[in-house]
Symmetry: C2
Subunit: 482 residues, 2 copies
């Protein structure tokens, strides 16, 4: 009998695996007798106990019949489970769902972070976190403290009550949002807010309105869920209310800092937006993704603060204010949606990770969070200046920079060239070790100009200068700068 | 002018809130002139600078027109946003989705953990984690170590590569599952596996087969997603293959330890199940929820080890082997499903929390995890003995205990009485401070006998004895024990 051991783990386990495979593939036919343990032990150069242990286990599992000593016979298993075939490849044995097919289509070509940064010298992509040693050590302290009092049981699916209370304090003071802890749902990042909205607020074929351009992750999950997505034009003042379609079930908006153009939606447009939503009986999701960081002008209170009839769902993220690996965000829900969202979160994942929630609640309570925000705002201000100066110096007449005075990124529109040129630029830059995002993938209709999303959170000012020098070189090398 | 400050936070912020509310509710009509700052300051007994700061902010936001000094006028905002109404109540301003209505219906009356344990003296409910000081301190150490090397950027959406590698080692050695790191998807607990399956594998109106009784969370998320759920009878050997319906898209099975009856599915039935799946082109989800803990007999390798054509999706949870607050589990996917699941996880939440993944990878690599499992198995063995002895002593002839020799709970069937009696017993026990789960909610058709799910993980042996003494008293007080 020919049996090959694979050398992984203990000998008897190797033997069990090898014999099972032979039985399942019908190389050892049903009814055939196995060699005596002594014989097989000699053949394989293993101890007899090893063979006995393997035979015993295979008998316990039903692969072998008979008793040790009086001979072991192969049970009738293999040929039925596997009539001499194996499916080594990629072909699914049953169909994938329409969701899966749409999810694959909508994320096709998306580089999933953690992989795309490899080999980059400088990364100016949006979404790279603010690297900050002070935050790292403060956060480590909070984690250690939270670990000492760790809970082991299931968390409150709605979120730790202490954390929800701290989020309310914070929103009242900083964003003018008047929320109670029972209105807050803690989620695993902003993306989950869109995934939940797709289910709780919308049914197949319902229409969702997105600003155009917009956050691509929202579009992708809505499309995967079989929803219709309509884009609404954005100008220097953000979403253009006159362009809203007559009917939709939901609009996702970024009034504090339009994503990605950075525009600030004026009050008059906010009012028009609310009127539109009331007239079409639509929900509004306000994504306040970096409303915390403004470097000039006073911040406007959140749209949610104007919401009198429970129509606005406010979402905030700690991926920008702290860091993305945290996987925590939150929603402020109208009273009418609390129960449905709580049930949905419970059914989706039973609640977000407790340890980080506890650490964050404490970080917010002891003032560490706001101290970090102040420090982060200073750092971002300096990096933003470095980026503006560097763009002026190295990108010269090639780009028009839109100065939104806020956030962690800015947009640079190409003065000449097509979208294809812009993609070519990004590809060339990547080869030279510079990470750039083009704006086109963030839009439904590419009616907008070719341009780039330039993040300045992830690099110290000196590196930003060096990165932009390289950027200038890439512009020249692709013929976009004389 | 009457304006009331709410006393929350700085004075100027209070004043801004109060004025906005008055404008939005049209108590301050569009076009009306606000009092001079000096006048209002005197009226409210605040400094003039407070009033000036508030006016300035309201002008910046567009609520007021005019310039400070020459008088401030109310902009035309309030009456349009809010024509004198407020929606204080629960009525949604737009319809909820069918998913949301079904989610609410399917979770109606579900007590969400973290709330239901309040006031209990003894908790014999299923799902209470194994309390274990050694684990707590070992885990704290791992968290501290992981926090020192914390990553800040987005995680790999599929799960930390180190953790996926450790899970593969573990499954090969302990469960006979031959998996590669690229087959593994790290998820936020088992519940997410069902939520993802509902989307990736199934479309509206597809049929899912569940063992009956089964894990309720799976049924709820499938129902919420608009799927048809069919139950299949379970006997002392687990799922009865002959009872499988001719067609279904997916079956969820618990071959190692049927949930909740504890039965171990024999090899012959495993083979029949695989044959059924091949004939109906169905996927199989193997929920190996506590396959790690067996106290007698040898463990059978996982069903997945028999899967030759990429049909079985294996799911494991760290909620049972470690603790539920961790919110981590994993799936082993056939090659044909990897890309679709990765896209789905990316679109749902961008990946699970990194810190715990890193801590867990290290805990598994340095042997701490298996050490914990060995210790936990000893503890569970002792607690299980205490429970069996206590039931024999105090519940006498009232219950028939099914001894599955595995896991963290057992089932106790009432010898007399109806399902209503069983519910009455649980309610009475709760009043006396004893937490019990009845089995009925875990079944689709309550064709099974009335019984209880008794968890023994959460209490030391002495408390189990005391809890069962109380249980005996409750049985007598409800007339179920003479």
């Amino acid at each position: 009998m020919y049996v090959e051991l694979d050398g992984q783990g203990p000998r008897y386990a190797q033997l069990i695996r090898a014999l099972k495979a032979a039985i399942l593939d019908a190389r050892l036919a049903a009814g055939s007798r196995l060699p005596a343990s002594r014989t097989l032990a000699r053949e394989l150069d293993v101890s007899r106990n090893t063979v006995l242990a393997a035979y015993e286990q295979l008998q316990a599992e039903g692969f072998l019949l008979g008793r040790v000593g009086s001979g072991s016979y192969v049970a009738d298993v293999g040929s039925r489970v596997s009539p001499n075939r194996r499916n080594p490849g990629q072909a699914p044995v049953a169909p994938l769902s329409p969701f899966a097919r749409r999810a694959l289509a909508s994320t096709d070509g998306v580089r999933i972070p953690g992989r795309e940064h490899a080999g980059l010298r400088y990364n100016l992509q949006y979404g790279v976190p603010l690297t900050n040693p002070a935050l790292a050590s403060a956060w480590r302290r909070e984690i250690n403290r939270a670990a000492e009092r760790a809970e082991f049981d299931y968390p409150d699916a709605q979120g730790l009550p202490e954390l929800r209370a701290r989020i309310c304090d914070y929103l009242t003071r900083r964003r003018g949002v008047d929320a109670q802890p029972e209105d807050v749902l803690v989620i695993s990042g902003t993306q989950q807010a869109f995934a939940l909205a797709a289910r709780v607020l919308l049914d197949a074929n319902d229409t969702v309105v997105l600003e155009d351009p917009h956050y691509r992750g929202a579009r992708q999950i809505f499309l995967a869920n079989g929803l219709r997505v309509r884009g609404v034009r954005v100008d220097a003042d953000g979403l253009v209310p006159a362009a809203l379609p007559p009917r939709a079930r939901l609009a996702v908006v970024t009034p504090s800092h339009q994503f990605p153009t950075g525009a600030l939606l004026p009050l008059a447009r906010r009012v028009e937006l609310l009127e539109w939503a009331a007239a079409s009986r639509a929900w509004l999701i306000e994504d306040d993704y970096d409303g915390e960081f403004r470097f000039g002008g006073r911040p406007l209170a959140a749209l949610k603060s104007l919401d009198r009839d429970g129509r606005v769902i406010y979402i905030g993220s700690f991926s920008k204010t702290l860091f993305p690996a945290l996987r925590l965000g939150y929603m402020v829900l109208p009273a009418s949606l609390r129960a449905a969202y709580r049930a949905a979160k419970w059914l989706e994942d039973r609640g977000s990770n407790t340890l980080e929630q506890a650490a964050l609640a404490n970080f917010m309570a002891n003032g560490g969070f706001e101290r970090h925000l102040r420090r982060a705002a200073q750092t971002l201000r300096a990096r933003r200046s470095a980026m503006l100066a560097g763009l002026a110096r190295h990108a010269g007449q090639a780009v028009e920079v839109v100065d939104s005075n806020a956030g962690m990124h800015l947009t640079a529109w190409l003065r000449t060239g097509s979208h294809a040129d812009c993609e070519r630029l990004a590809a060339h830059a990547r080869e030279r070790g510079l990470g750039l995002y083009t704006i086109a993938p963030y839009a439904l209709k590419v009616s907008l100009r070719p341009g780039l999303l330039l993040g300045y959170a992830g690099l110290p000012s000196a590196d930003i200068e060096a990165a932009l020098r390289l950027f200038g070189r890439c512009l020249r090398e692709t013929g976009l700068l004389a």
